[in-house]
C-alpha cells in the first residue's frame, strides 16, 4: 500500500518525483545488530500480522530456518547459518528483508511509471496500483528481495512499515524485537549506533567487525552490524551494485529514449509547421 501523505523523492519510469522541497524529512533507517539477534522470529510474526500477510505453509526439512527465502507473502526472514570461523563455531542469524537502498536498483529497473517509489524519507515502496507485475524490479535488486505475487499479479516486499512510519511509529518488527537488536530512527542516528556497537565489538576482540551499509547502492536504510567482515557468511552480497544492464537501461537507454522521443515529436512538429498536414492524393479519395 503506497503512502498517501509522504512526498515522493523518486518514481520509477519518471524523470522526477513529487517532492516540493517545502517540507524536509530526514532519511529513516532500521538498525540490525546481528550480534544480539537470537533468531526468535518475533519480527517475522509481527511482520506477517501487521501487514496482514497470508500464512505461508512450511515444513520441517532439517533447519531452524523453515522458510528458505523471502516470499511475496513473507517479507521478513531470519536467516540461520551454521559456520566455523577461525576455529570457532558460530550460529549466525541475520534479518533478511528489503534494504531500502538510497540508489534502488528495483526502481531503476522498473518500466511502469510510479510503480516503485522512493519517499522523501528514503523508504522504497511498491505501488500496486501502478505495478504491472513484470518482475524487472527483481532483476534490478542486488539482494534478491522483490517477489511476484501470483494472486495479485503484483510485486511485493517490505515497505519498512511505511504506514507506521508516516505517523511516527517504528516498524512492526522493531516494536516486537525482544532483545533490542533492532532499532529505528534517522539514518544518521542508526549509523552512529552502529559505529558505537562496532567499536565495542572491536574492543572485545572482533577486529574486523563492520557496519554493513553498502555504498555500491548509495547506502541502505537497513544498516546491519556484522561481527565478521564477511557478508557472504550472512547471505549478504559483499559489494552489491545495481547491475550494469539496469544502469545502462536507466542511465543511457532510457534518457536516450526520452531524448529520441522528444526529437521525434520535435521532428514531427517541425515537419508539420513546415509542410502542413499530409493531404491525401486526390484520386485516392475518389476511389474510396
Amino acid at each position: 500500500m503506497a503512502s498517501q501523505t509522504l512526498e515522493i523523492h523518486r518514481s520509477s519510469a519518471s524523470m522526477w518525483g513529487t517532492r516540493t522541497g517545502i517540507r524536509s524529512l530526514p532519511t529513516v533507517a532500521k538498525y540490525v545488530d546481528t550480534t544480539t539477534c537470537i533468531g526468535c522470529k518475533a519480527c517475522e510474526a509481527a511482520c506477517q500480522e501487521w501487514n496482514d500477510l497470508k500464512r505461508v505453509p512450511t515444513s520441517q526439512d532439517g533447519s531452524y530456518q523453515t522458510m528458505p527465502k523471502l516470499q511475496a507473502d513473507f517479507w521478513n526472514l531470519i536467516k540461520f547459518n551454521e559456520t566455523e570461523i577461525d576455529g570457532n563455531f558460530n550460529w549466525l542469524m541475520r534479518k533478511d528483508q528489503c534494504m531500502h537502498c538510497a540508489e534502488p536498483g528495483c526502481l531503476a529497473a522498473c518500466p511502469a511509471p510510479g510503480a516503485i517509489v522512493q519517499y522523501a524519507n528514503g523508504i522504497v515502496d511498491v505501488n500496486p496500483d501502478s505495478c504491472i507485475g513484470c518482475g524487472y524490479c527483481a532483476t534490478g535488486c542486488p539482494f534478491d528481495v522483490p517477489k511476484f505475487h501470483a494472486k495479485t499479479g503484483k510485486m511485493a516486499k517490505c515497505t519498512l512499515c511505511v504506514d507506521r512510519a508516516e505517523v511516527g511509529l517504528e516498524p512492526a518488527c522493531v516494536k516486537a524485537c525482544p532483545t533490542g537488536c533492532l532499532s529505528y530512527g534517522t539514518k544518521d542516528d542508526m549509523v552512529a549506533l552502529g559505529i558505537l556497537r562496532v567499536k565495542q565489538l572491536k574492543d572485545s576482540g572482533f577486529k574486523d567487525a563492520i557496519l554493513y551499509d553498502p555504498q555500491g547502492v548509495g547506502g541502505t536504510s537497513v544498516v546491519t552490524v556484522l561481527k565478521y567482515n564477511r557478508p557472504e557468511l550472512y547471505d549478504l552480497p559483499a559489494d552489491p551494485h545495481v547491475s550494469m544492464g539496469v544502469k545502462i537501461w536507466k542511465q543511457v537507454v532510457r534518457p536516450l529514449g526520452v531524448i529520441a522521443g522528444f526529437l521525434t515529436m520535435f521532428a514531427v512538429f517541425g515537419h508539420y509547421t513546415k509542410y502542413g498536414p499530409k493531404e491525401p492524393p486526390a484520386d485516392e479519395g475518389r476511389a474510396a
Binding site: 550480534t35 544480539t36 537470537i38 526468535c40 520441517q60 533447519s63 563455531f89 558460530n90 550460529w91 525482544p178
Partner: protein
C-alpha cells in the same frame, strides 16, 4: 529469582547454565544484552547444545547432560585453590566458619546416615558442633582453618573436581573449562558482581536440587548473593508458574510455603513443633529467625479459610485441614492410579477413581506417557478443564502401541469443561522476579468457556450444597469454608487478591504504643508485619501481603520511576516479600553496613536505618545485630545444608540412565536416593542397548502444548513439525541425511521425526570414550489442529526424578537412533 529480570543489567558476568534463556525467555533476555551493551558484561553459556543463547554469548562451553554438579564443583574448587572468592563476605554472610560434627562423613559416594533398606538418609550426623537446642552455642572458626569447619570440609569435598576430572566427566575440554572458571570467578570480590541464571535444565534431573545448590554455593563463595547484579536466578517456565507455587501449587505446601500438615500432626501445637525453628544462632550475627512468626501466618490463613467458624477453642479450625499420609506429588498419584492402589497406606487402599485436571496436560508433559495413558484408562471419571482438546482429554486416541483403544474398552467417563485462557480473564501474573502484575481481560471467552474461578466456585458450591442436603464424610471441612464473595459463583479476582493480602478482624494496636490503633476492624493490612496469631487478622497468603492494601490494588501500579537507577521500580506492581526487589539484600553490604560496591547499592546503613531497596532486615537494627539470612536459624547462608534428602554437599551422580559409570565412585553411580517407581511400565534402559544420551527442550516459536492447536496463525509455520537434532558426525556414521526420517527409541517406546543434522551438537570425549547426544523439543502430540500434530516426546522419558522436588528427569536419558 533472588533478584529480578531488570537487575540482570547490573551484572558483570552472566553464567547461563541449565537453561536457554534466549530461547525460552527472549523478552527477559533483553537484560543480558543490556548488561553487555552498557557494562561490557561477559555472557557464558554452558549447555549440551550450541543454543540460541550460545549464539550471542561471549563464550560457549559444551557439557554432557546431567553432569552440571561436577562442572560447578570444579569452579568452586578453582575459586578456593586460586583464592578468587570473596573472603570478607564468606566470613560474615555464610556458614563457612561453622564447625561440623565429626560424625559427618563422606565415603565412596555416600554421606553418613545412608539406610540401605529404605534408600534414604538418616540425617542426624549432618549437624554443626555446639547445638543451641541443647543449651550450647555453635562453634565457629573465623579463620576458616579448623579442619572440621564448613570451609575446610567443602575444600576437601571439591578437591577431587580438578579440571582434568571435569573434562573426563563432563566432556568439556580443559582449556574451555578453565576459561569459564576465569570469567566466573572474576566476580569473587567486592568490585565485581556476577549472576547465575538457570531453568529446567537444572531442575529436571534426579540431582536437580543439588545442581541448583551447587550454583547457590558458588554464588555465596563469590559474594554474589543479595547484591544488585548477582543472585541465583530461576527462570520460570510460564508467565504465572511463580504465582502457582506461591499459592500452594505443590502438594507439600500451603499458600506462602507453609507446610502441609501430615498425619501425625493432629493439633496446631504438634504442627508448630515441626514447622517453627527454635534452634537459633544467638551469637554475633544472631538469627532474626523470621519463621518465629509462623503461627501468625498460619492462624491468619486458617481465619481466611474458615472465617467465623475458626476460633481459638477449635484450634482455629486446624483439625479440618487435610493431613497427608505421604507423598502426593504427581508422579506418585499417577503411579497409584496405574497400579490401582495407594502405596502410602500399605497398598491396601484403592487408588484414585476420579481426577480433575486444570490447565495441565499430564499425558503430554508427564514422563512415560504410556504409563500415564494406562493410568487414566483405569479411572471411573475424569474432568479436564482446558481450552483445547488436549492429549489428556482424548487419551484413548493415542497410537495403539501407547495404549490408545476404543472407548468401549475403557471405563473412564471424561468430562471436558471449556475454560477461558489467560487473555480472557483478569487477574495477576507473578513473574520469575516475584512481581505480581495485574492484567486485564482482553476479550470474552468464546462459547460456554468459563474462567477458572467460576469453574472452581461452581464445583465447590455444588459439593457444599450436596453436603448440606445429604451429609457425607468429614462434613466440617466443606461446610465451614468461608466463601464470602460478592458473587459467590464467580468471585471477582480483585476480591480474592484482597483476601490474600489480609485484613484486620479487630482493631489492631501499635505494638510500640498500645494506645494507638493502626488498623480498624475490616481494614486491609499493610503487610505481613501486622499479622497476629490471636485471630484478629486473616490472610490468605502472608507472602503476598502488601499487594492489596487500603491504598488499593498494588499489582496494578505502573509507575516506572526508578530513582535507584538499578531497575528496582518499587512503584511498579508488587514484589513479594514486602515489595522487596532483591532478596537477602543485607548481604550486599559489609559488616559495617557499607555497600560492597558504592555504585550498586542494595541497601546501606545510614546511621539510623537501612536505606535503598526494601531491607531484608529489621529496618532499624544496626549492622552486627542480625545475620543477613533472616529466614535461617543460623542467620547466614549455607555452604553446608542439612535440609535436603540427598546430602549436605552436592556430589556428582550420573543420571538414572547414564552412558558411563560414575568416574568417582562406580559403586554409587546415580543418586542413591533418587525417586524411582517399580511398576511393570517403569523399565529403565542400559547403555549397551541405548548408547546415546538424549535431552528434551522447548522452542521459542511454540507455547508448550498449545500452539499446535492453532489452526491459523503464523507460529506453527515458524516451527512446523517434530524434529530430532543429531550431531553431524553421528549422522554420517548412521547414514542419516538432513531432513530424512529417523526413529528414536528408549526403554519406554519409540517415536519418529525429521532429522536435523547439525554441528551445534558436539560429540563428547568422556574419559576416552566417544559419547553422542541428541535432543528434541517437546511441543507436539497426537492432539492438535490438522497438520500440526506429531509424536509426544515423553513417550521416551522415564518416571524417575529428584528426591527433594519429585521433578522428573527429562533432561538426560538413554536412547538409540536409527533411520526410519
Amino acid at each position: 529469582m533472588t533478584n529480578g529480570w531488570v537487575d540482570i543489567k547490573n551484572a558483570d558476568v552472566i553464567l547461563a547454565m541449565g537453561g536457554n534463556p534466549a530461547e525460552n525467555h527472549p523478552v527477559g533476555f533483553r537484560w543480558f544484552m543490556e548488561a553487555r551493551k552498557t557494562r561490557g558484561a561477559k555472557i557464558v553459556a554452558v549447555d549440551p547444545r550450541f543454543t540460541r543463547t550460545a549464539a550471542v554469548a561471549d563464550m560457549y562451553a559444551p557439557i554432557r547432560p546431567g553432569t552440571d554438579i561436577a562442572f560447578l564443583l570444579g569452579i568452586i574448587r578453582y575459586a578456593i585453590e586460586t583464592g578468587r572468592y570473596h573472603s570478607d563476605y564468606v566470613k560474615i554472610h555464610t556458614n563457612a566458619p561453622f564447625i561440623v560434627s565429626d560424625k559427618f562423613t563422606f565415603n565412596d559416594g555416600l554421606f553418613s546416615g545412608f539406610d540401605d533398606k529404605t534408600h534414604q538418609y538418616v540425617k542426624d550426623t549432618w549437624a554443626y558442633d555446639g547445638d543451641p537446642a541443647k543449651g550450647g552455642s555453635y562453634l565457629l572458626d573465623q579463620t576458616l582453618q579448623h579442619p572440621r569447619s564448613v570451609f575446610q570440609l567443602l575444600k576437601q569435598h571439591v578437591a577431587r573436581y580438578t579440571p582434568e576430572i571435569v573434562e573426563r566427566i563432563c566432556g568439556t575440554p580443559k582449556a574451555q573449562f578453565l576459561k569459564v572458571c576465569d570469567i566466573v570467578t572474576s566476580t569473587g570480590n567486592a568490585q565485581r558482581v556476577g549472576t547465575i541464571t538457570y531453568a529446567l535444565g537444572w531442575t529436571q534431573h534426579s540431582t536437580g536440587v543439588q545442581m541448583i545448590r551447587a550454583g547457590a554455593m558458588l554464588q555465596l563463595l563469590l559474594g554474589n548473593v543479595g547484591r544488585p547484579g548477582g543472585g541465583v536466578n530461576a527462570f520460570r517456565g510460564h508467565s504465572n508458574i511463580q504465582g502457582a507455587t506461591d499459592t500452594a501449587g505443590n502438594t507439600e505446601i500451603l499458600p506462602g510455603y507453609l507446610k502441609t500438615p501430615v498425619g501425625q500432626m493432629q493439633t496446631l501445637a504438634d504442627y508448630y513443633g515441626s514447622a517453627v525453628p527454635t534452634t537459633l544462632n544467638k551469637q554475633a550475627w544472631a538469627s532474626m529467625n523470621y519463621w518465629q512468626n509462623y503461627p501468625k501466618f498460619m492462624v491468619s490463613l486458617l481465619k481466611s479459610l474458615y472465617g467465623n467458624a475458626s476460633t481459638k477453642d477449635n484450634d482455629w479450625g486446624y483439625g479440618w485441614m487435610p493431613k497427608i499420609d505421604g507423598n502426593y506429588s504427581w508422579m506418585y498419584i499417577y503411579d497409584d492410579m496405574y497400579r490401582g492402589s495407594s502405596m502410602r497406606v500399605g497398598g491396601k487402599e484403592p487408588g484414585p477413581e476420579g481426577f480433575i485436571t486444570f490447565g495441565m496436560n499430564p499425558v503430554g508433559l508427564g514422563p512415560n506417557s504410556k504409563k500415564m495413558i494406562a493410568a487414566l484408562s483405569k479411572l471411573k471419571w475424569m474432568v479436564v478443564v482446558e481450552n483445547s482438546e488436549i492429549e489428556t482429554a482424548t487419551f484413548w486416541k493415542a497410537p495403539p502401541e501407547y495404549g490408545g483403544a476404543s472407548p468401549a474398552q475403557i471405563p473412564t467417563e471424561v468430562f471436558m469443561l471449556p475454560a477461558a485462557n489467560f487473555a480472557e480473564k483478569d487477574g495477576t501474573f507473578t513473574n520469575s522476579a516475584r512481581w505480581l502484575q495485574w492484567k486485564w481481560k482482553a476479550l470474552d471467552p468464546p462459547g460456554s468457556a468459563k474462567s477458572d474461578q467460576e469453574i472452581v466456585s461452581r464445583i465447590f458450591l455444588a459439593v457444599q450444597a450436596l453436603y448440606k442436603k445429604e451429609g457425607g464424610a468429614l462434613p466440617e471441612q466443606v461446610l465451614n469454608v468461608s466463601w464470602a464473595y460478592t458473587n459467590p459463583v464467580n468471585p471477582d479476582l480483585g476480591e480474592v487478591l484482597k483476601e490474600m493480602n489480609g485484613k484486620a478482624l479487630a482493631d489492631l494496636k501499635d505494638p510500640k504504643d498500645p494506645t494507638k490503633v493502626v488498623k480498624t476492624a475490616g481494614q486491609q493490612i499493610d503487610g505481613f508485619g501486622q499479622l497476629m496469631d490471636d485471630g484478629t487478622t486473616s490472610c490468605g497468603n502472608w507472602l503476598h501481603s502488601g499487594v492489596y492494601t487500603e491504598a488499593g490494588n498494588n499489582a496494578q501500579r505502573r509507575n516506572n520511576a526508578d530513582p535507584t537507577g538499578l531497575g528496582m521500580f518499587h512503584n511498579w506492581g508488587f514484589s513479594w516479600p514486602a515489595n522487596r526487589r532483591i532478596m537477602y539484600n543485607r548481604a550486599s553490604a559489609d559488616a559495617n553496613g557499607n555497600p560492597w560496591d558504592p555504585t550498586r547499592v542494595g541497601i546501606k546503613w545510614n546511621g539510623e536505618k537501612w536505606v535503598g531497596d526494601v531491607p531484608d532486615m529489621k529496618p532499624d537494627a544496626p549492622p552486627g545485630t542480625f545475620g543477613a539470612f533472616i529466614m535461617l536459624p543460623e542467620g547466614v547462608g549455607r555452604l553446608f545444608a542439612a535440609g535436603l534428602a540427598d546430602g549436605p554437599f552436592p556430589e556428582h551422580y550420573e543420571a538414572v540412565e547414564a552412558p558411563v559409570p560414575n568416574l568417582l565412585h562406580p559403586k554409587v553411580t546415580s543418586n542413591p536416593v533418587a525417586l524411582k517407581f517399580a511398576s511393570d511400565k517403569d523399565s529403565l534402559g542400559t547403555a549397551d542397548k541405548f548408547p546415546i544420551v538424549c535431552t528434551t527442550y522447548r522452542l521459542t516459536e511454540h507455547f508448550h502444548y498449545w500452539t499446535k492447536h492453532q489452526e491459523a496463525g503464523v507460529l506453527n509455520e515458524l516451527a512446523p513439525g517434530f524434529f530430532v537434532e543429531i550431531p553431524e558426525a553421528l549422522a554420517t556414521d548412521k547414514g542419516i541425511a538432513n531432513g530424512s526420517k529417523v526413529r528414536v527409541s528408549s526403554a519406554r517406546g519409540s517415536i519418529e521425526g525429521t532429522a536435523m543434522v547439525t554441528k551445534r551438537l558436539p560429540s563428547l570425549n568422556i574419559d576416552g570414550k566417544r559419547i553422542w547426544q541428541i535432543g528434541f523439543p517437546i511441543h507436539w502430540g497426537y492432539a492438535g489442529a490438522k497438520g500440526h500434530t506429531g509424536p509426544l516426546a515423553n513417550f521416551l522419558t522415564a518416571s524417575v526424578g529428584d528426591p527433594n522436588t519429585w521433578t522428573p528427569e527429562y533432561k538426560a536419558f538413554l536412547v538409540n537412533l536409527e533411520k526410519a
